[in-house]
């Protein structure tokens, strides 16, 4: 197990470097950070050149990248467009998005697995069919559409919830945004649960469990569910990273000042330190979530653990 962890950690390093370099490349090489600083005004060429030198923008890209990464590991993410350190922005933005993601994940687990188990155990029945139709529709409606429609119906028309979220972003305010953020993943969780359950229901070891004379309840919980939920758990794990990155749409709809909001501002104003900094942290979160998933997988499935 220890060696497995170390191997996975080592594998993460090139992926981290690759992903962050790619983003760095896009922002610094494809865009023009200096021009962006001046907005619409054309910068004085001498000033521009001085800034370029200060920011090492005249150096080869890999040197800039190394320099930037060096600063990041010293905790210096640079300055945002409003003069605030990027780390300060992160300090306010990440907790908000984390709360939102947490709400979404809980909804995804509770609703998704429940629906998946119900329909997987009753394949072909009316409930199964309606769940399938529901998931298809949910997957097909893009988040920004379902977000606006739900916001309009629940928040504006029927006034069940507040249509926008305050800057504090309390958990109860995040319920509807959480649902919106979770919807598509929830449908995937439902379908995945249903499929693995149906596949495993035919597995030989389930037949063995029945032949052992175990009560149906025990067959389902101890043998069928335990095995079927392994891929579901791993999906949900990897989804944490995806949701945090994908929260940008939900945050825009409900005016939540989280990671997506700050990033969006950063991109609009072409503030490179904000963009690269936030994305770097998100990549780290994503990689870390994947690592945890792999370890979880090994804990849940002994065939991996002892491989």
């Amino acid at each position: 197990m220890g060696r497995y962890v170390i191997r996975r950690l080592l594998q993460m390093i090139p992926v981290f470097i690759g992903s962050t370099f790619l983003i760095f490349f896009m922002v610094y090489a494809l865009g023009d950070p200096v021009a962006a600083m001046f907005g619409d005004r054309a910068p004085d060429p001498a000033t521009a050149a001085r800034i370029r030198q200060e920011l090492l923008l005249d150096q080869p890209l890999w040197k800039q990248y190394l320099h930037y990464m060096g600063q990041i590991f010293r905790g210096d993410f640079g300055t945002a467009f409003n003069g605030q350190p990027v780390t300060e922005l992160m300090g306010t933005a990440f907790p908000v998005t984390l709360r939102l993601t947490l709400v979404a994940i809980v909804i995804e687990i509770v609703v998704g697995i429940t629906l998946g188990v119900l329909s997987g155990l009753r394949r072909g029945r009316a409930l199964d069919t309606s769940v399938l139709v529901f998931t298809l529709v949910v997957v097909s409606v893009p988040t920004f559409v379902s977000g606006y429609v739900l916001q309009f119906l629940l928040g504006v028309k029927w006034e069940w919830v507040k249509p926008t979220v305050s800057t504090d972003a309390y958990l109860n305010e995040l319920l509807l945004p959480g649902v919106v953020l979770a919807l598509v993943s929830l449908a995937y969780v439902t379908r995945l649960t249903r499929t693995t359950l149906a596949e495993n229901a035919r597995a030989d070891y389930v037949r063995t469990a029945v032949a052992k004379g175990l009560p149906r309840r025990r067959v389902v919980t101890r043998h069928l569910l335990r095995n079927s939920l392994i891929p579901v758990v791993t999906f949900i794990g990897t989804d944490i990273g995806q949701l945090m990155g994908g929260a940008i749409v939900t945050e825009r709809i409900f005016n939540i000042h989280g990671v997506g909001f700050q990033l969006y501002q950063g991109i609009l104003r072409q503030n490179s330190p904000t963009v690269v900094g936030f994305v770097t942290v998100l990549v780290l979160v994503f990689l870390f979530a994947n690592l945890v998933v792999d370890l979880l997988y090994a804990v849940l499935d002994p065939r991996i653990r002892y491989a």
Binding site: A203, Y205, R207, T208, A211, K212, G213, H223
Partner: protein, 349 residues
Amino acid sequence: MATATTPDPAPDAGAASPALLDVRDLYVEFRTRDGVARAVNGVSYRVDAGETLAVLGESGSGKSVTAQALMGILDSPPGFVTGGEIRFRGQDLLQAAPEERRRIRGARMAMIFQDALSALNPVLSVGTQLGEMYEVHQGMKRKDARAKAVELMERVRIPAARSRVGDYPHQFSGGMRQRIMIAMALALEPDLIIADEPTTALDVTVQAQVMDLLADLQREYDMGLILITHDLGVVADVADRIAVMYAGRIVEHAPVHDLYRAPAHPYTRGLLDSIPRLDQKGQELYAIKGLPPSLTAIPPGCPFHPRCPRARDRCAVDRPPQYDVAPGRTSACHFWEETLRDEEPPHDR
């Protein structure tokens, strides 16, 4: 029909008791999208305590489906028992309440599956899976069940049982895994064990060990054993009687030595002739021509007639009944007498 020739009654059921297992005229069908597959069509056999019945047939002959129907683990839908009786120690299991059947399953009659690697749960330790039998059927505490699991593993001669009880199925060799399957079946000392191709997935050298172990344990506990196989070689040493199945029915049912000496059905003849023999080295092996019929479209008359070297016009229209060949021996062939005497070369190729 199989006639009761075995003299000894079931030991724990008192004198003049019914057979341990008496299957009468069992029918099973699968209702699929492509039509109704008639997997079992009027199978009857009986097994007594301490006796081994081998059920022989190709895949698709209905031998495994029969066993699943006996255990009550048929997947339903699509599988349905549509007729017959399964009398286990006098009680018709098909009439029993589901809860009653569940209690019998695993405890009084147990099953050994072909591929232990897939038949054992990959994510639970073998100790857990063995102990589960005691926890569920006897309400034993987990710790005590674990101790019993070790005992079981020792009984099926797994070395270092105590240290391996926490291991997972994939950590064992094929033969050891099959021993664990056997141990699981044996846990509650059932009256009847159904072994569905227990050695097919194993190496030849291991096959014999596992088969010997099974035979030993059967003697030790005086259990009835139904041995399902497609391998004539396995049968000869251990079985008392053989039932040969084809297209969902028993075509020949005989004491093992009688059947080997002189088969009374052309299908059995064909099976025996297709075993490679040392004294025929160099000759081409015999193979029954054609393929078994689709169970959705079993031919009228004798289902074997399209492949049968002895087939006459009558065979295509007239479904043969079970002819009594001798006491305790039947054949479902109109021409069993000439088959038995092996008149006229049965196969010209």
